[in-house]
């Protein structure tokens, strides 16, 4: 009896474990979709992308007179309305998670892969806003998946992914760098034959060429680098440090990843590829918190493999799980669509409460306003929602700004010496600032500016004597 009962008990245990695993997995997928839908949408970015996307669609790039950093995603999703934007963000987030988990499974089996992908998800929490950010994560994960095992078709697929990525967000510029990490891995990790090495380097070349195949052509790399905001040019203008720009992801996700790496290392053997992806991803994330999601996507598979090695777990082939996975993803996506439909009206209503929404209270008589905003993203909204011709001292498209514009913004936002003369010289006639900032107090001290609107966070000033 005992000998007959043991396999049955083992089978029951395995079935129970599978039920638990799939339940957890379904929950995580649903949570991913829910987080993406309920995260506060990046309205200023969306509004600007939508406006300029429409201009480009109508007049073409040259006539629209705008730079192009491929906010195609944001424009397209926002053009479909709030619910579509939220559902698109959820789809991108789910795709990023599934692709990251798929690659992680190759390294560390399904349990470690799911756990490591959860760390990646937490690292992405602040990036899952309706916009190019979530789509970037999916494309990054897909690129890593393609590059992971070079085949003759790898260069083609990698180039195609890089091409799409570059149309969607400036971090498409990372594609050739990621491909280079894989190629160096193929060269130094000694795992592959010379053909693999060739495919890997062709993929690098293809990704590099893809960065030149945007409407900006040869200007894209420089523009995209500026838009990545990883150098110190924008110090004091935008919040780049992860604790400011992605606080939840940094405090919880990045810290968890650091602890996990300290506990598990990077696997049985240090590989150049893993070292480059983890260290490079961490540096990018620390330079600009917006990169924490990319770090998570790149690091999760390494972490999964390391955890499996350290814990001595066996990797089991599980092709039979594909159908279940598709079902779980479909259900999660349907859930996201329903949730997006429910959340969208509230998200639209909440928009009026946002500090940058004050821009709409600027007097509409006379010529369009020129805004100065302490937070450059607020000016995105002011420019996008103002009457045609509304401009800003500097808006969120920092990649288009000259050094003089950046310095002017810094002088204004820090209320440094000469800021009043600067506003005069730049013909600024509307100022949108946080109420608790020195600039708000200083504006109120003299009679040449008057406050026309305020809410809990922000205050809108216009020139008292009309335009200059």
């Amino acid at each position: 009896m005992t000998t007959l009962a043991s396999p049955a008990r083992g089978g029951t245990r395995a079935r129970d474990a599978a039920v638990v695993f799939w339940s957890v997995r379904a929950f995580v997928y649903a949570a991913t979709a829910a987080v993406a839908v309920t995260s506060q949408p990046a309205w200023p970015d969306l509004a600007l992308a939508r406006r300029y996307g429409a201009l480009v669609a109508r007049d073409g790039l040259a006539r629209a007179g705008v730079g192009w950093l491929g906010d195609l995603w944001a424009w397209a999703s926002a053009s479909g309305g709030t619910a579509a934007a939220l559902a698109a963000a959820a789809a991108a987030a789910l795709a990023a998670f599934v692709l990251t988990e798929t690659r992680a499974r190759r390294y560390g089996g399904r349990v470690c892969a799911l756990a490591a992908s959860c760390v990646a998800l937490v690292c992405s929490l602040d990036a899952l806003r309706a916009g190019g950010g979530a789509a970037s994560l999916a494309l990054c994960a897909a690129l890593a998946l393609v590059l992971d095992r070079p085949t003759p078709r790898t260069p083609l697929f990698a180039s195609a992914l890089a091409l799409v990525w570059c149309q969607i967000a400036p971090d498409g510029l990372l594609a050739p760098l990621i491909a280079t990490a894989f190629a160096l891995g193929a060269r130094f990790d000694g795992e592959r034959d010379p053909k693999d090495l060739r495919y890997a380097w062709f993929a690098v070349a293809g990704c590099a060429l893809a960065t030149l195949a945007t409407p900006s052509l040869g200007a894209f790399p420089a523009q995209a680098f500026a838009a990545l905001r990883v150098d110190r040019t924008y110090d004091g203008i935008v919040a780049l440090h992860p604790i400011d720009s992605a606080p939840t992801a940094y405090r919880i996700g990045f810290t968890a990843a650091v602890f996990a790496f300290l506990a598990f290392g990077t696997g049985a053997r240090l590989r150049v590829r893993d070292a480059l992806l983890v260290a490079g991803g961490a540096l990018y994330a620390l330079a600009n918190g917006a990169g924490l999601g990319i770090f998570g996507v790149l690091a999760a598979p390494v972490l999964a493999g390391a955890a499996r090695d350290a814990l001595g777990l066996q990797t089991v082939r599980e092709d039979e799980g594909r159908a279940g996975e598709a079902a779980v993803v479909t259900v999660a996506m349907l859930f996201a669509i329903v949730l997006a439909g429910a959340v969208a009206p509230r998200a639209d209503a909440a928009l009026a409460e946002r500090p940058y929404a004050l821009a709409q209270h600027a007097p509409r008589s006379g010529s369009p306003h020129r805004f100065a905003c302490a937070n450059v993203d607020w000016c995105d909204y002011a420019v996008a929602t103002g009457p045609p011709g509304t401009t800003a001292l500097l808006d969120g498209r920092l990649d288009r700004a000259s050094a003089a514009d950046i310095e002017a913004q810094r002088t204004f936002s820090h209320a440094s010496h000469g800021w009043r003369a600067l506003l005069d010289a730049r013909r600024v006639d509307a100022v949108l600032v946080r109420r608790d900032r020195a600039i708000a107090t200083l504006l109120a001290l003299r009679g040449d500016w008057r406050a026309v609107a305020q809410n809990d966070e922000a205050e809108l000033f216009v020139r008292a004597g009309g335009r200059r």
């Binding site: 790496f261 696997g267 049985a268 240090l270 540096l283 440094s416 608790d436 200083l442 001290l445």
Partner: protein, 472 residues
Amino acid sequence: MKYAWLVIGVFAARFFATAIAYPAGDGDLAWQRWLGAIVARTHAIPRSLGDETFSASGAPWLPQEWLFSALAFVARDGLAWDLFAGAVALGAAGALALAAYRAERLGASPRAIALCTAFAGIALYESFGVRAQVVAWPLVALYLVLLDVEGPLAYAALAVAAVWSNLHASAMLAPVLAATVAAGAAFEARGFDARARRLTTLAICSIAAICCNPFGWHLPQYAIGLFGNPIKSYISEWKVTDLDDTSFAFGALPLLLGAMLLCGGGRGRTRASDLLVLAAFAFLVLGAARNVPLFALIAAPLVARSLTRAVPLFAPEAPAAPTKLARRAAFALPVASLAIAALVGVQLVRHAPPETGLADAPLQALERTAGAHRLFCADFAWCGLAVGMPNVRVFLDGRADPYPRAVWDDFVTVARVGTAWRRTLDRRGVDAVIVSRDAALDQALAEAPGWHAGYADKTYRLWLRDGARRGG
């Protein structure tokens, strides 16, 4: 360690130069000397803020750096100062040497030790100065070395903890470190073996050791209270670490990445006890720039060891019979390193100490201004220089911790020119303000009625309330 001595020598030279030629970059030394003078005069340690401040007179104060302050007062000028400042620099260099020594004991190769010591040196670089927390660095490193020691000598760690508690409140870390290492040792042994028992005893006795100071158990209580203290958000040393900090970007971060890639898992064969300490300090270093040096001193030996094991370039050289040259080098390198450092130091002793580079000039102008003044400094560290001036009482100074939250809130309102800045200055009766020239507060005071400039130079401006007399 042979290459590491060169690295240590370079950093030691820089530390000597900084200590002797640029002693007081943060204004703390001024009030610490004043505290030392009080201790010397009264033979007692003050336990509350006095009349030197008008915003929080009588607030409880625990002057954790009392011994450092007393020494800073005794050695306030001349050769004594050079010796005192030089000793602080030697302590920082000693911390590096102890970290390198620990790496060698763990089996790291000379090349790996040199590289990791260089990263640790960079990590100490920005925080270095003649400061109480710097004196704690060698004590941390020595405490860790002693925790590794087998046998009764390990109990010398208790003496280190006791000395540490008289110099800086970071002594609170001593029992935490010992307890963490003990937990790791128990995990490794799957039970309480002799090492785990010894470390547990050390952890418990260290709690008693850090109470061996004039404040007794109030010192650890104070240190624990600091963790949740909201004023940390206003102090630059407590700001969250970022890539703008050279010491983090080029010192602690390479060590952190090295630890993530190399120390974990089975490959690095890093002991669980070391990994636990590393994880705790990784958490601390990501949380505050102040912890960069401590993390580096802890991580450097462990990363050096893992680098030696994992990367062929850093593998130990094949053992060979020591040549005559090698034997000479073993003595010559440390001697040469210290000689270079001492030479730099001696060269600098010939020069008179420069100004602090802080707000000395406007403070002197205020001191010359007749009448008693209630001073607000836009950077509270500047007011540290005014503590003890006979006719000046400060709003908030570099002692920082004892000031109540309400004082900090008002400080932020005024310094950041919040809506209520003028009402706050009026309510607090401030009649003198020192600001950076052209800063927002400077502009606001220029626009506000009732204030006039009493002094101005390229960097600072002293604003006096109308009615306060002009200085000479």
